[in-house]
């Protein structure tokens, strides 16, 4: 089991990974999904999602602190016994796999709809996966450093987007505030809560690699807060610049935002450069999910090394992505209607049960002494 525990990342790198991954694919699809129910109150939905997200962060932090330097899956097996532990592990692995599918599908759909309509989606997914697999094979240490390196790039691109669009922001677009009551806002908050925060359960697989002497509560909570805040900024910018109608109609409002940048008739057409924003975040989220999936299976089956799993798992993901989401309508129905509930059961209910179980087993041990 050496392979899993040797590599170390700093607390700072851990936080950055959480920030990038919590923004993940949400930066692309979230504004449109949220606006579909909350309209001009989409930003309020995001605030609500952020608050809920902090609670989820608290839950994950509580588990992380009780893992004693083990990963989620190896801890489950050690503390809950072989049967219960394996069942929990398999459920988590299913979640990782499904999450990976949605991300892959998201990436493929965005690229083929908006940027390269004539390129077969398989080709795009194949390249995307190859990069993920290569990054995985370089190991945790390498991609943690990579995140530290790309974080300033991400932040400066985001700053470009925000600053250059400020002149076009119209406060009037926010009106009327909460006219439809709390219902639509709450409905609008659910998908961002699921995609932005619940799915971050993958961070529990990184716990053994974090070189932290103290508890992990601080990096997790601050990572969630920063990531959530940046998402809030993007959603608010969409409402302010595009208005709720356009935001709801277009699949990728963030891309439209980038298209709208026009400074003095010469600083224009920056969308392809700004597309790097979400390429970075989707990449890191997918990488964490893929890491959790692969190392999780390796730990479940007590394999000596996980590299041999990388390519077969990649092939599985590729095939399932194409088979599972044959068109964009199917994908959207899954992601809007069903997926948040799936996330809720696998990323919140399951970890909560797991936390209770951890607590009980410790008590029993203390009693049995």
């Amino acid at each position: 089991m050496k392979e899993y525990t040797n590599a170390k990342m700093s607390v700072r790198q851990f936080t950055i990974l959480i920030i990038l991954a919590s923004i993940g694919d949400s930066i692309l699809i979230l504004p449109t999904i949220t606006a579909a129910s909350a309209k001009q109150d989409a930003w309020l939905s995001m605030v609500l999602a952020l608050l809920l997200g902090m609670a989820a962060g608290g839950l994950f932090a509580a588990i992380a602190n009780r893992l004693r330097g083990e990963s989620l899956i190896s801890a489950a097996q050690q503390r809950l016994g072989i049967w219960a532990g394996s069942t929990v592990s398999i459920l988590f692995i299913i979640e990782f796999f499904m999450c990976g599918l949605t991300l892959m599908s998201e990436m493929g759909q965005f690229m083929t709809t908006q940027l390269m309509p004539e390129t077969p989606v398989n080709a795009i997914l194949l390249f995307f996966l190859s990069v993920i697999i290569i990054a995985y094979r370089y190991g945790v240490e390498a991609f943690a450093r990579m995140s530290e390196l790309l974080f300033p790039v991400f932040m400066s691109l985001l700053a470009v987007l925000v600053v250059f669009l400020m002149p076009q922001a119209e406060i009037e677009n926010l009106q009327p505030i909460a006219a439809g009551g709390l219902g639509p806002i709450m409905r609008g908050a659910f998908p961002p809560f699921a995609a932005g925060f619940m799915e971050m359960v993958v961070l529990l697989m990184l716990v053994p690699h974090v070189a932290a002497k103290t508890k992990l509560t601080r990096p997790i909570i601050s990572g969630f807060a920063i990531g959530g805040f940046l998402l809030l900024v993007i959603v608010a910018l969409c409402v302010l610049v595009l208005g709720p109608n356009l935001m709801e109609t277009k699949y990728y409002p963030t891309f439209v935002l980038a298209q709208k940048i026009s400074i003095g008739n010469f600083l224009e057409r920056l969308e392809a450069i700004l597309a790097f924003l979400w390429v970075i975040t989707v990449f890191f989220k997918m990488l964490l999910v893929y890491y959790s999936l692969t190392s999780g299976i390796a730990q479940l089956l007590r394999l000596k090394e996980s590299r041999m799993l990388t390519i077969p798992l990649g092939m599985l993901l590729l095939v399932f992505t194409i088979a599972g989401t044959p068109n964009i309508a199917v994908y959207n129905e899954i992601i809007v209607r069903d997926y948040p509930w799936f996330d809720l059961s696998f990323c919140i209910a399951l970890p909560a049960l797991f936390l209770v179980a951890l607590h009980l087993t410790r008590k029993r041990k203390v009693k049995g002494g």
């Binding site: 390269m116 009327p176 109608n245 356009l246 439209v256």
Partner: protein
């Protein structure tokens, strides 16, 4: 060894470039589209650039700067594809600047055309949309224009300039059209464009060989819509009122009669408008606040003493009256057409969402025509040009 070969192979793969790359010589760059509705079919005209003709190096050939390709079809897309039977390359929409719809099409409804535009991944949302007034859209795309080689470029520049300097024009881009058509309480209004002069000469190069081109385009009036169907043209006065109320007015000129066929010229240099909505006893009431600054640019009458503050006060009042009557004309017309092109309903939706929920379905037909509209116009004349009192002998 295998590792090396794979590595070299991968590098070669990268060198192959993009999957669907298209170089400049394979693109048919569309700058303007005209859509007509004829005999139950769309006639779509694509104005495409002849790159060699607009290049910086002096061109030697006699080809026009743009070429028009046309296709017919049940949908715009079908029409676009059918023209590949004539055109040597496939169209590229990334540089589209202007979409001209014919009046007949506008009266039939424009949603079908716009939906396709909105879905297209190449077309951006920043091109302008106009209505060809009383003529076919294709005619406008077959015009030799002076100064600018690309006719659409010329039209677009003219639209943007005149929007800023001349009251009765507005420029509208796809994203605004889209917002108006999907939002509530704000009906669409698009600028109208027309060929004036000797239309027969527009297509020949002799058009630009004269000092004054015999055939020219001109922006004329604003087309008012109800939902996606055009229902009428605003007159120049109404158009002025429309741009002022909707805060599209920047600068324009206003003439005040001061004697026999003599006018004091006022240049509006900035104008801001704001709508205030009220509910009085459950009845909608709108107050249009307009804050305008102006200069005097012409004062041919002896009895108008622009150095006298009292005269300035009087001129301010008179100018405000003109603005008010323009705005009233626009409101009257909109009410008569039962189409809220001024966005009053939208404002109610924002400020009185509860009330709006009850009336939104019948706003245009029932509540808007009866809504009380008041004007509060503040106008300040700041300067009188570089001279004081005119010393020219009258």
């Amino acid at each position: 060894m295998i590792y090396r070969i794979t590595l070299i192979g991968l590098c070669l793969l990268m060198l192959a470039g993009c999957w669907s790359r298209r170089e400049l010589d394979e693109l048919l760059v569309v700058v303007g589209i005209g859509v007509d509705w004829e005999e139950g079919e769309y006639l779509v005209s694509f104005q495409t650039v002849n790159p060699s003709e607009i290049s910086m190096q002096k061109s030697t050939s006699d080809r026009p700067p743009v070429t028009l390709f046309q296709g017919r079809g049940k949908s715009v897309f079908e029409a676009a594809r059918s023209l590949t039977a004539e055109a040597p390359r496939k169209v590229y929409m990334g540089h589209l600047q202007l979409l001209i719809l014919s009046e007949t099409l506008a009266k039939k409804g424009i949603n079908d055309v716009l939906d396709g535009m909105l879905r297209d991944n190449e077309a951006r949302m920043d091109f302008h949309i106009e209505i060809a007034r009383g003529m076919k859209a294709e005619k406008l795309l077959k015009l030799y224009t002076p100064l600018e080689k690309l006719p659409t470029h010329s039209m677009q520049r003219s639209l943007i300039t005149s929007e800023k300097a001349w009251a009765p024009t507005v420029s509208v881009t796809l994203d605004e059209v889209m917002n108006r058509l999907s939002g509530e309480g704000f009906e669409l209004a698009l600028p109208g464009i027309q060929l004036i002069g000797d239309r027969a000469l527009s297509e020949s190069k002799t058009n630009i060989e004269k000092f004054q081109p015999p055939s020219r385009f001109r922006y004329m009036g604003i087309a008012a819509f109800k939902e996606d169907k055009m229902i009428g043209w605003l007159s120049e006065k109404e158009s002025k009122g429309y741009t002022d109320i909707t805060d599209n007015l920047t600068s324009t000129s206003i003439e005040l009669a001061c004697g026999d066929r003599k006018y004091t010229g006022i240049e509006v240099i900035s104008s801001k408008s704001k709508l205030e909505t009220k509910l009085r006893n459950g009845k909608p009431e709108i107050i249009v606040h307009i804050l305008t600054e102006a200069n005097i640019v012409d004062s041919p009458c002896m009895d108008v003493d622009v150095t006298d503050p009292a005269t300035i006060n009087r001129l301010q009042e008179e100018t405000a009256q003109v603005l008010k009557s323009n705005a009233e004309a626009a409101v009257r017309r909109a009410k008569r057409m039962k189409s809220d092109i001024l966005g009053f309903g939208n404002k109610f939706g924002k400020e009185h969402p509860g009330y709006w929920k009850q009336v939104e379905d019948s706003w245009n037909d029932q509540y808007f025509p009866l809504a009380k509209v008041e004007f509060d116009i503040e106008l300040y004349i700041r300067k009188t040009g570089t001279t004081g009192k005119s010393t020219l002998k009258k």
